[in-house]
Structure formats: C-alpha cells, structure tokens
C-alpha cells in the first residue's frame, strides 16, 4: 500500500514540475493533437458498439429479438428505409448516449452470468425486459421513435381512417408512441400477465 502511495506521490511530483525541455507551444500543440486523437478514438470506439452488427454479435440478440424484428416493417418495407437496433435503443444525443452506454454494462454483467443464454431463459425474462424498455420509452416520451417519426411533420390526412383519429386523440391527451405501439418490432411477451383479454386462457 505504501509502495503505491509512494509511486503516486512521485508521479504527482513529475506532473507538477514545470518542463524545461519542451516549449510551451510544443506542449500546447501536442496536447491539442493528442486530445483530438483520444476524443476521436473514444467516439469511434463508442460508435463501433452502436451498430446492428455489434448488437447481433451476441447470440442472445441474434437468435431472439433480431429474428422477430426481421418480420416487421422496421426491417422490410416498400422503400427499404430501415431502423436498425441502435436507432431505437440508443439515444442519438451524445450525453444520453453515454448514459445509455454506461447502463449497458449491466447487460455485459448478465451476458457473463448467462441470464438469457437459452431461448427458454429469454422467454422467461421477456416480460421483464419488455417492461424495462416500455418504461424507458415512456419516460423519454418515445424520444428514439421521434428521431424519425416527427409529430410536427405527421400529415394526419394521409393516414388511414383509424390512425388519423387515434393519433390526434392520443397525442392531444399527452400520450406517447409506446403507449399504443408495443410489440411493433419484437414479439410481445406473454400477454396474459399484462392484458388477459388478448391471450388465450385465463
């Protein structure tokens, strides 16, 4: 313990000492360049974890939620515009993105524990996981949906009879996307625990 303390004190002494060898300019420019490189490197590394490829490199995602998603309009549609995993599940804004990435360490922990490493385990956890996502989307007023689906640009007259009414009614009463659009990109959990009227049995 004392050794470490000694080492840290020595390091601090070195850092505190003004340099006699390098000019202030060199230090400034060097520091500036190093800053750019480290900042860029950090963001690049973070963006690498922000791709569908990265998400489905884990079999838990690839074999369950990704397969379900491939059946939906966010994967396959008329114009071929896609929303990939991070488009919906990672905020675009930097601060929120970093917070989400820090929270994701919990996912790494459960990856190591193997909490959902079989389809059966995943299914058993599905309701819990879904509720986490629903809660978060509700809390952020479906921020990630609205990155593409902007209410301001939504032309109700172009919508179907039902959507036109529901959207106006819902949005006017302060509801958010996820209040209605649950299970649009992934299979819903066993609904007899959420709404027994939408599942068989009781």
């Amino acid at each position: 313990m004392n050794k470490i303390k000694q080492l840290l004190t020595n390091l601090w002494e070195v850092l505190k000492k003004p340099t006699a060898k390098y000019s202030l300019g060199t230090l400034l420019v060097g520091g500036f360049v190093a800053g750019i490189i480290f900042w860029g490197g950090f963001n690049t590394a973070m963006e690498m974890t922000n791709s569908e490829e990265f998400c489905i490199s884990c079999h838990e995602m690839r074999e369950n939620v990704y397969e379900e998603y491939k059946d939906t309009v966010h994967y396959s549609n008329r114009t071929g515009v896609r929303a990939t995993c991070p488009d919906c599940h990672v905020p675009k804004e930097w601060t929120y993105k970093v917070i989400r990435k820090i929270k994701a360490t919990n996912e790494l922990y459960h990856k190591a524990l193997g909490t959902i490493d079989t389809p059966e385990k995943f299914e058993a956890k599905r309701l819990h996981l879904a509720r986490n996502v629903w809660k978060e989307m509700k809390a952020t007023d479906s921020r990630e949906c609205r990155n593409c689906h902007d209410f301001e640009s939504m032309d109700y007259t172009e919508q179907g009879r039902r959507g036109m009414n529901q959207h106006q009614k819902g949005l006017d009463s302060g509801m958010t996307c996820i209040d209605c659009h649950k299970g649009i990109a992934h299979s819903l959990p066993a609904m007899y625990e959420v709404d027994p009227s939408t599942a068989v049995g009781n």
Binding site: T72, L188, A190, M191, D195, P196, S197, A199, V200, G201
Partner: protein, 148 residues
C-alpha cells in the same frame, strides 16, 4: 384432279390442321404457352385494401370481413394481436368492433371467462380483402334483410 377430289383434299387438310391446332390447345401445362427458357409473366400481386368502413355481411352467420391490413399480426399461444383492439377490454379505447359473445363458448356451449381456444385463431374465419374480380361468374346476391 377433278373438282370433287380437290374439295375433299382441302377439307381433309383443314381438318388435319384443325386437329393439330386442337391438340395444341388441349395439351397445355400450367406455364401456358411460354417456352421453358422464357420467364412466365405472372399476375401482379393483389394488394390488401387498407382501412375502410366495416364491410356489410352477405349472409347470416358470415364471419365479418376484416376491413384493414393484418400484415405482421401475430396470433400465438402468448398473445393475439387482433385482440389488442377487438377484445372486450380494449374495443372501447381503440374504437374497434368487439368480438362476438359466441366466441366465449366451447363446443359444449359452456360459457368461458375468456375467448374459447376454438375461436382464438381469428384468421381461420375472418379475412382481409383484396380488390379483385370474382374468378368465376356467379349469380349470388346478398340477402337484403341484414344489409345496411
């Protein structure tokens, strides 16, 4: 060659040609007349009509038709996408038609507390519609007493 023989020959020839023509008509694969090395032109895909007023029934006991798209709607053991709007618990909020009371009875007419498993798979009876002409002509007319 006299006149009769010539006529007979013409008649025979035309008959022979006629039969080959007839055979060609009869022997017809599902591909039609398109040679094997060519691509058969297919009919264009019919599009499901989206979002319209409820469609009137044409006969008593007809399962009502679905007046909207149902692509991607899943019905399985865990949940039924249709019921998220059409169940008794949800129809008011969604403005959808609620499922019939008859769907709560099993085949012994026992009334159950939830939709009967035999009536759970909506699309076995209820179907969306495409805008297409009838494949065969028919003289069917809907009964007037249930039309509105």
């Amino acid at each position: 060659m006299n006149k009769e023989k010539l006529i007979a020959l013409i008649v025979m020839l035309s008959m022979a040609l006629g039969t080959t023509h007839l055979f060609a008509e009869q022997v017809n694969s599902l591909r039609g007349h398109t040679p094997l090395d060519e691509t058969v032109m297919t009919n264009t895909m019919k599009k499901v009509q989206n979002d319209r007023e409820p469609i009137a029934r044409d006969y008593i006991q007809q399962p009502p038709l679905i007046p909207h798209k149902t692509k991607g709607y899943k019905i399985n053991k865990k949940f039924n996408k249709c019921l998220t709007c059409h169940s008794w618990a949800n129809y008011k909020e969604s403005g959808a038609t609620k499922i019939s009371q008859t769907h709560f009875s099993d085949r012994e007419n026992n009334v159950l507390a939830n939709i009967a498993p035999r009536r759970y798979f909506c699309t076995q009876c209820h179907v969306s519609q495409v805008d297409s002409k009838p494949l065969v002509e028919n003289t069917f007319t809907p009964i007037t007493t249930i039309q509105h």
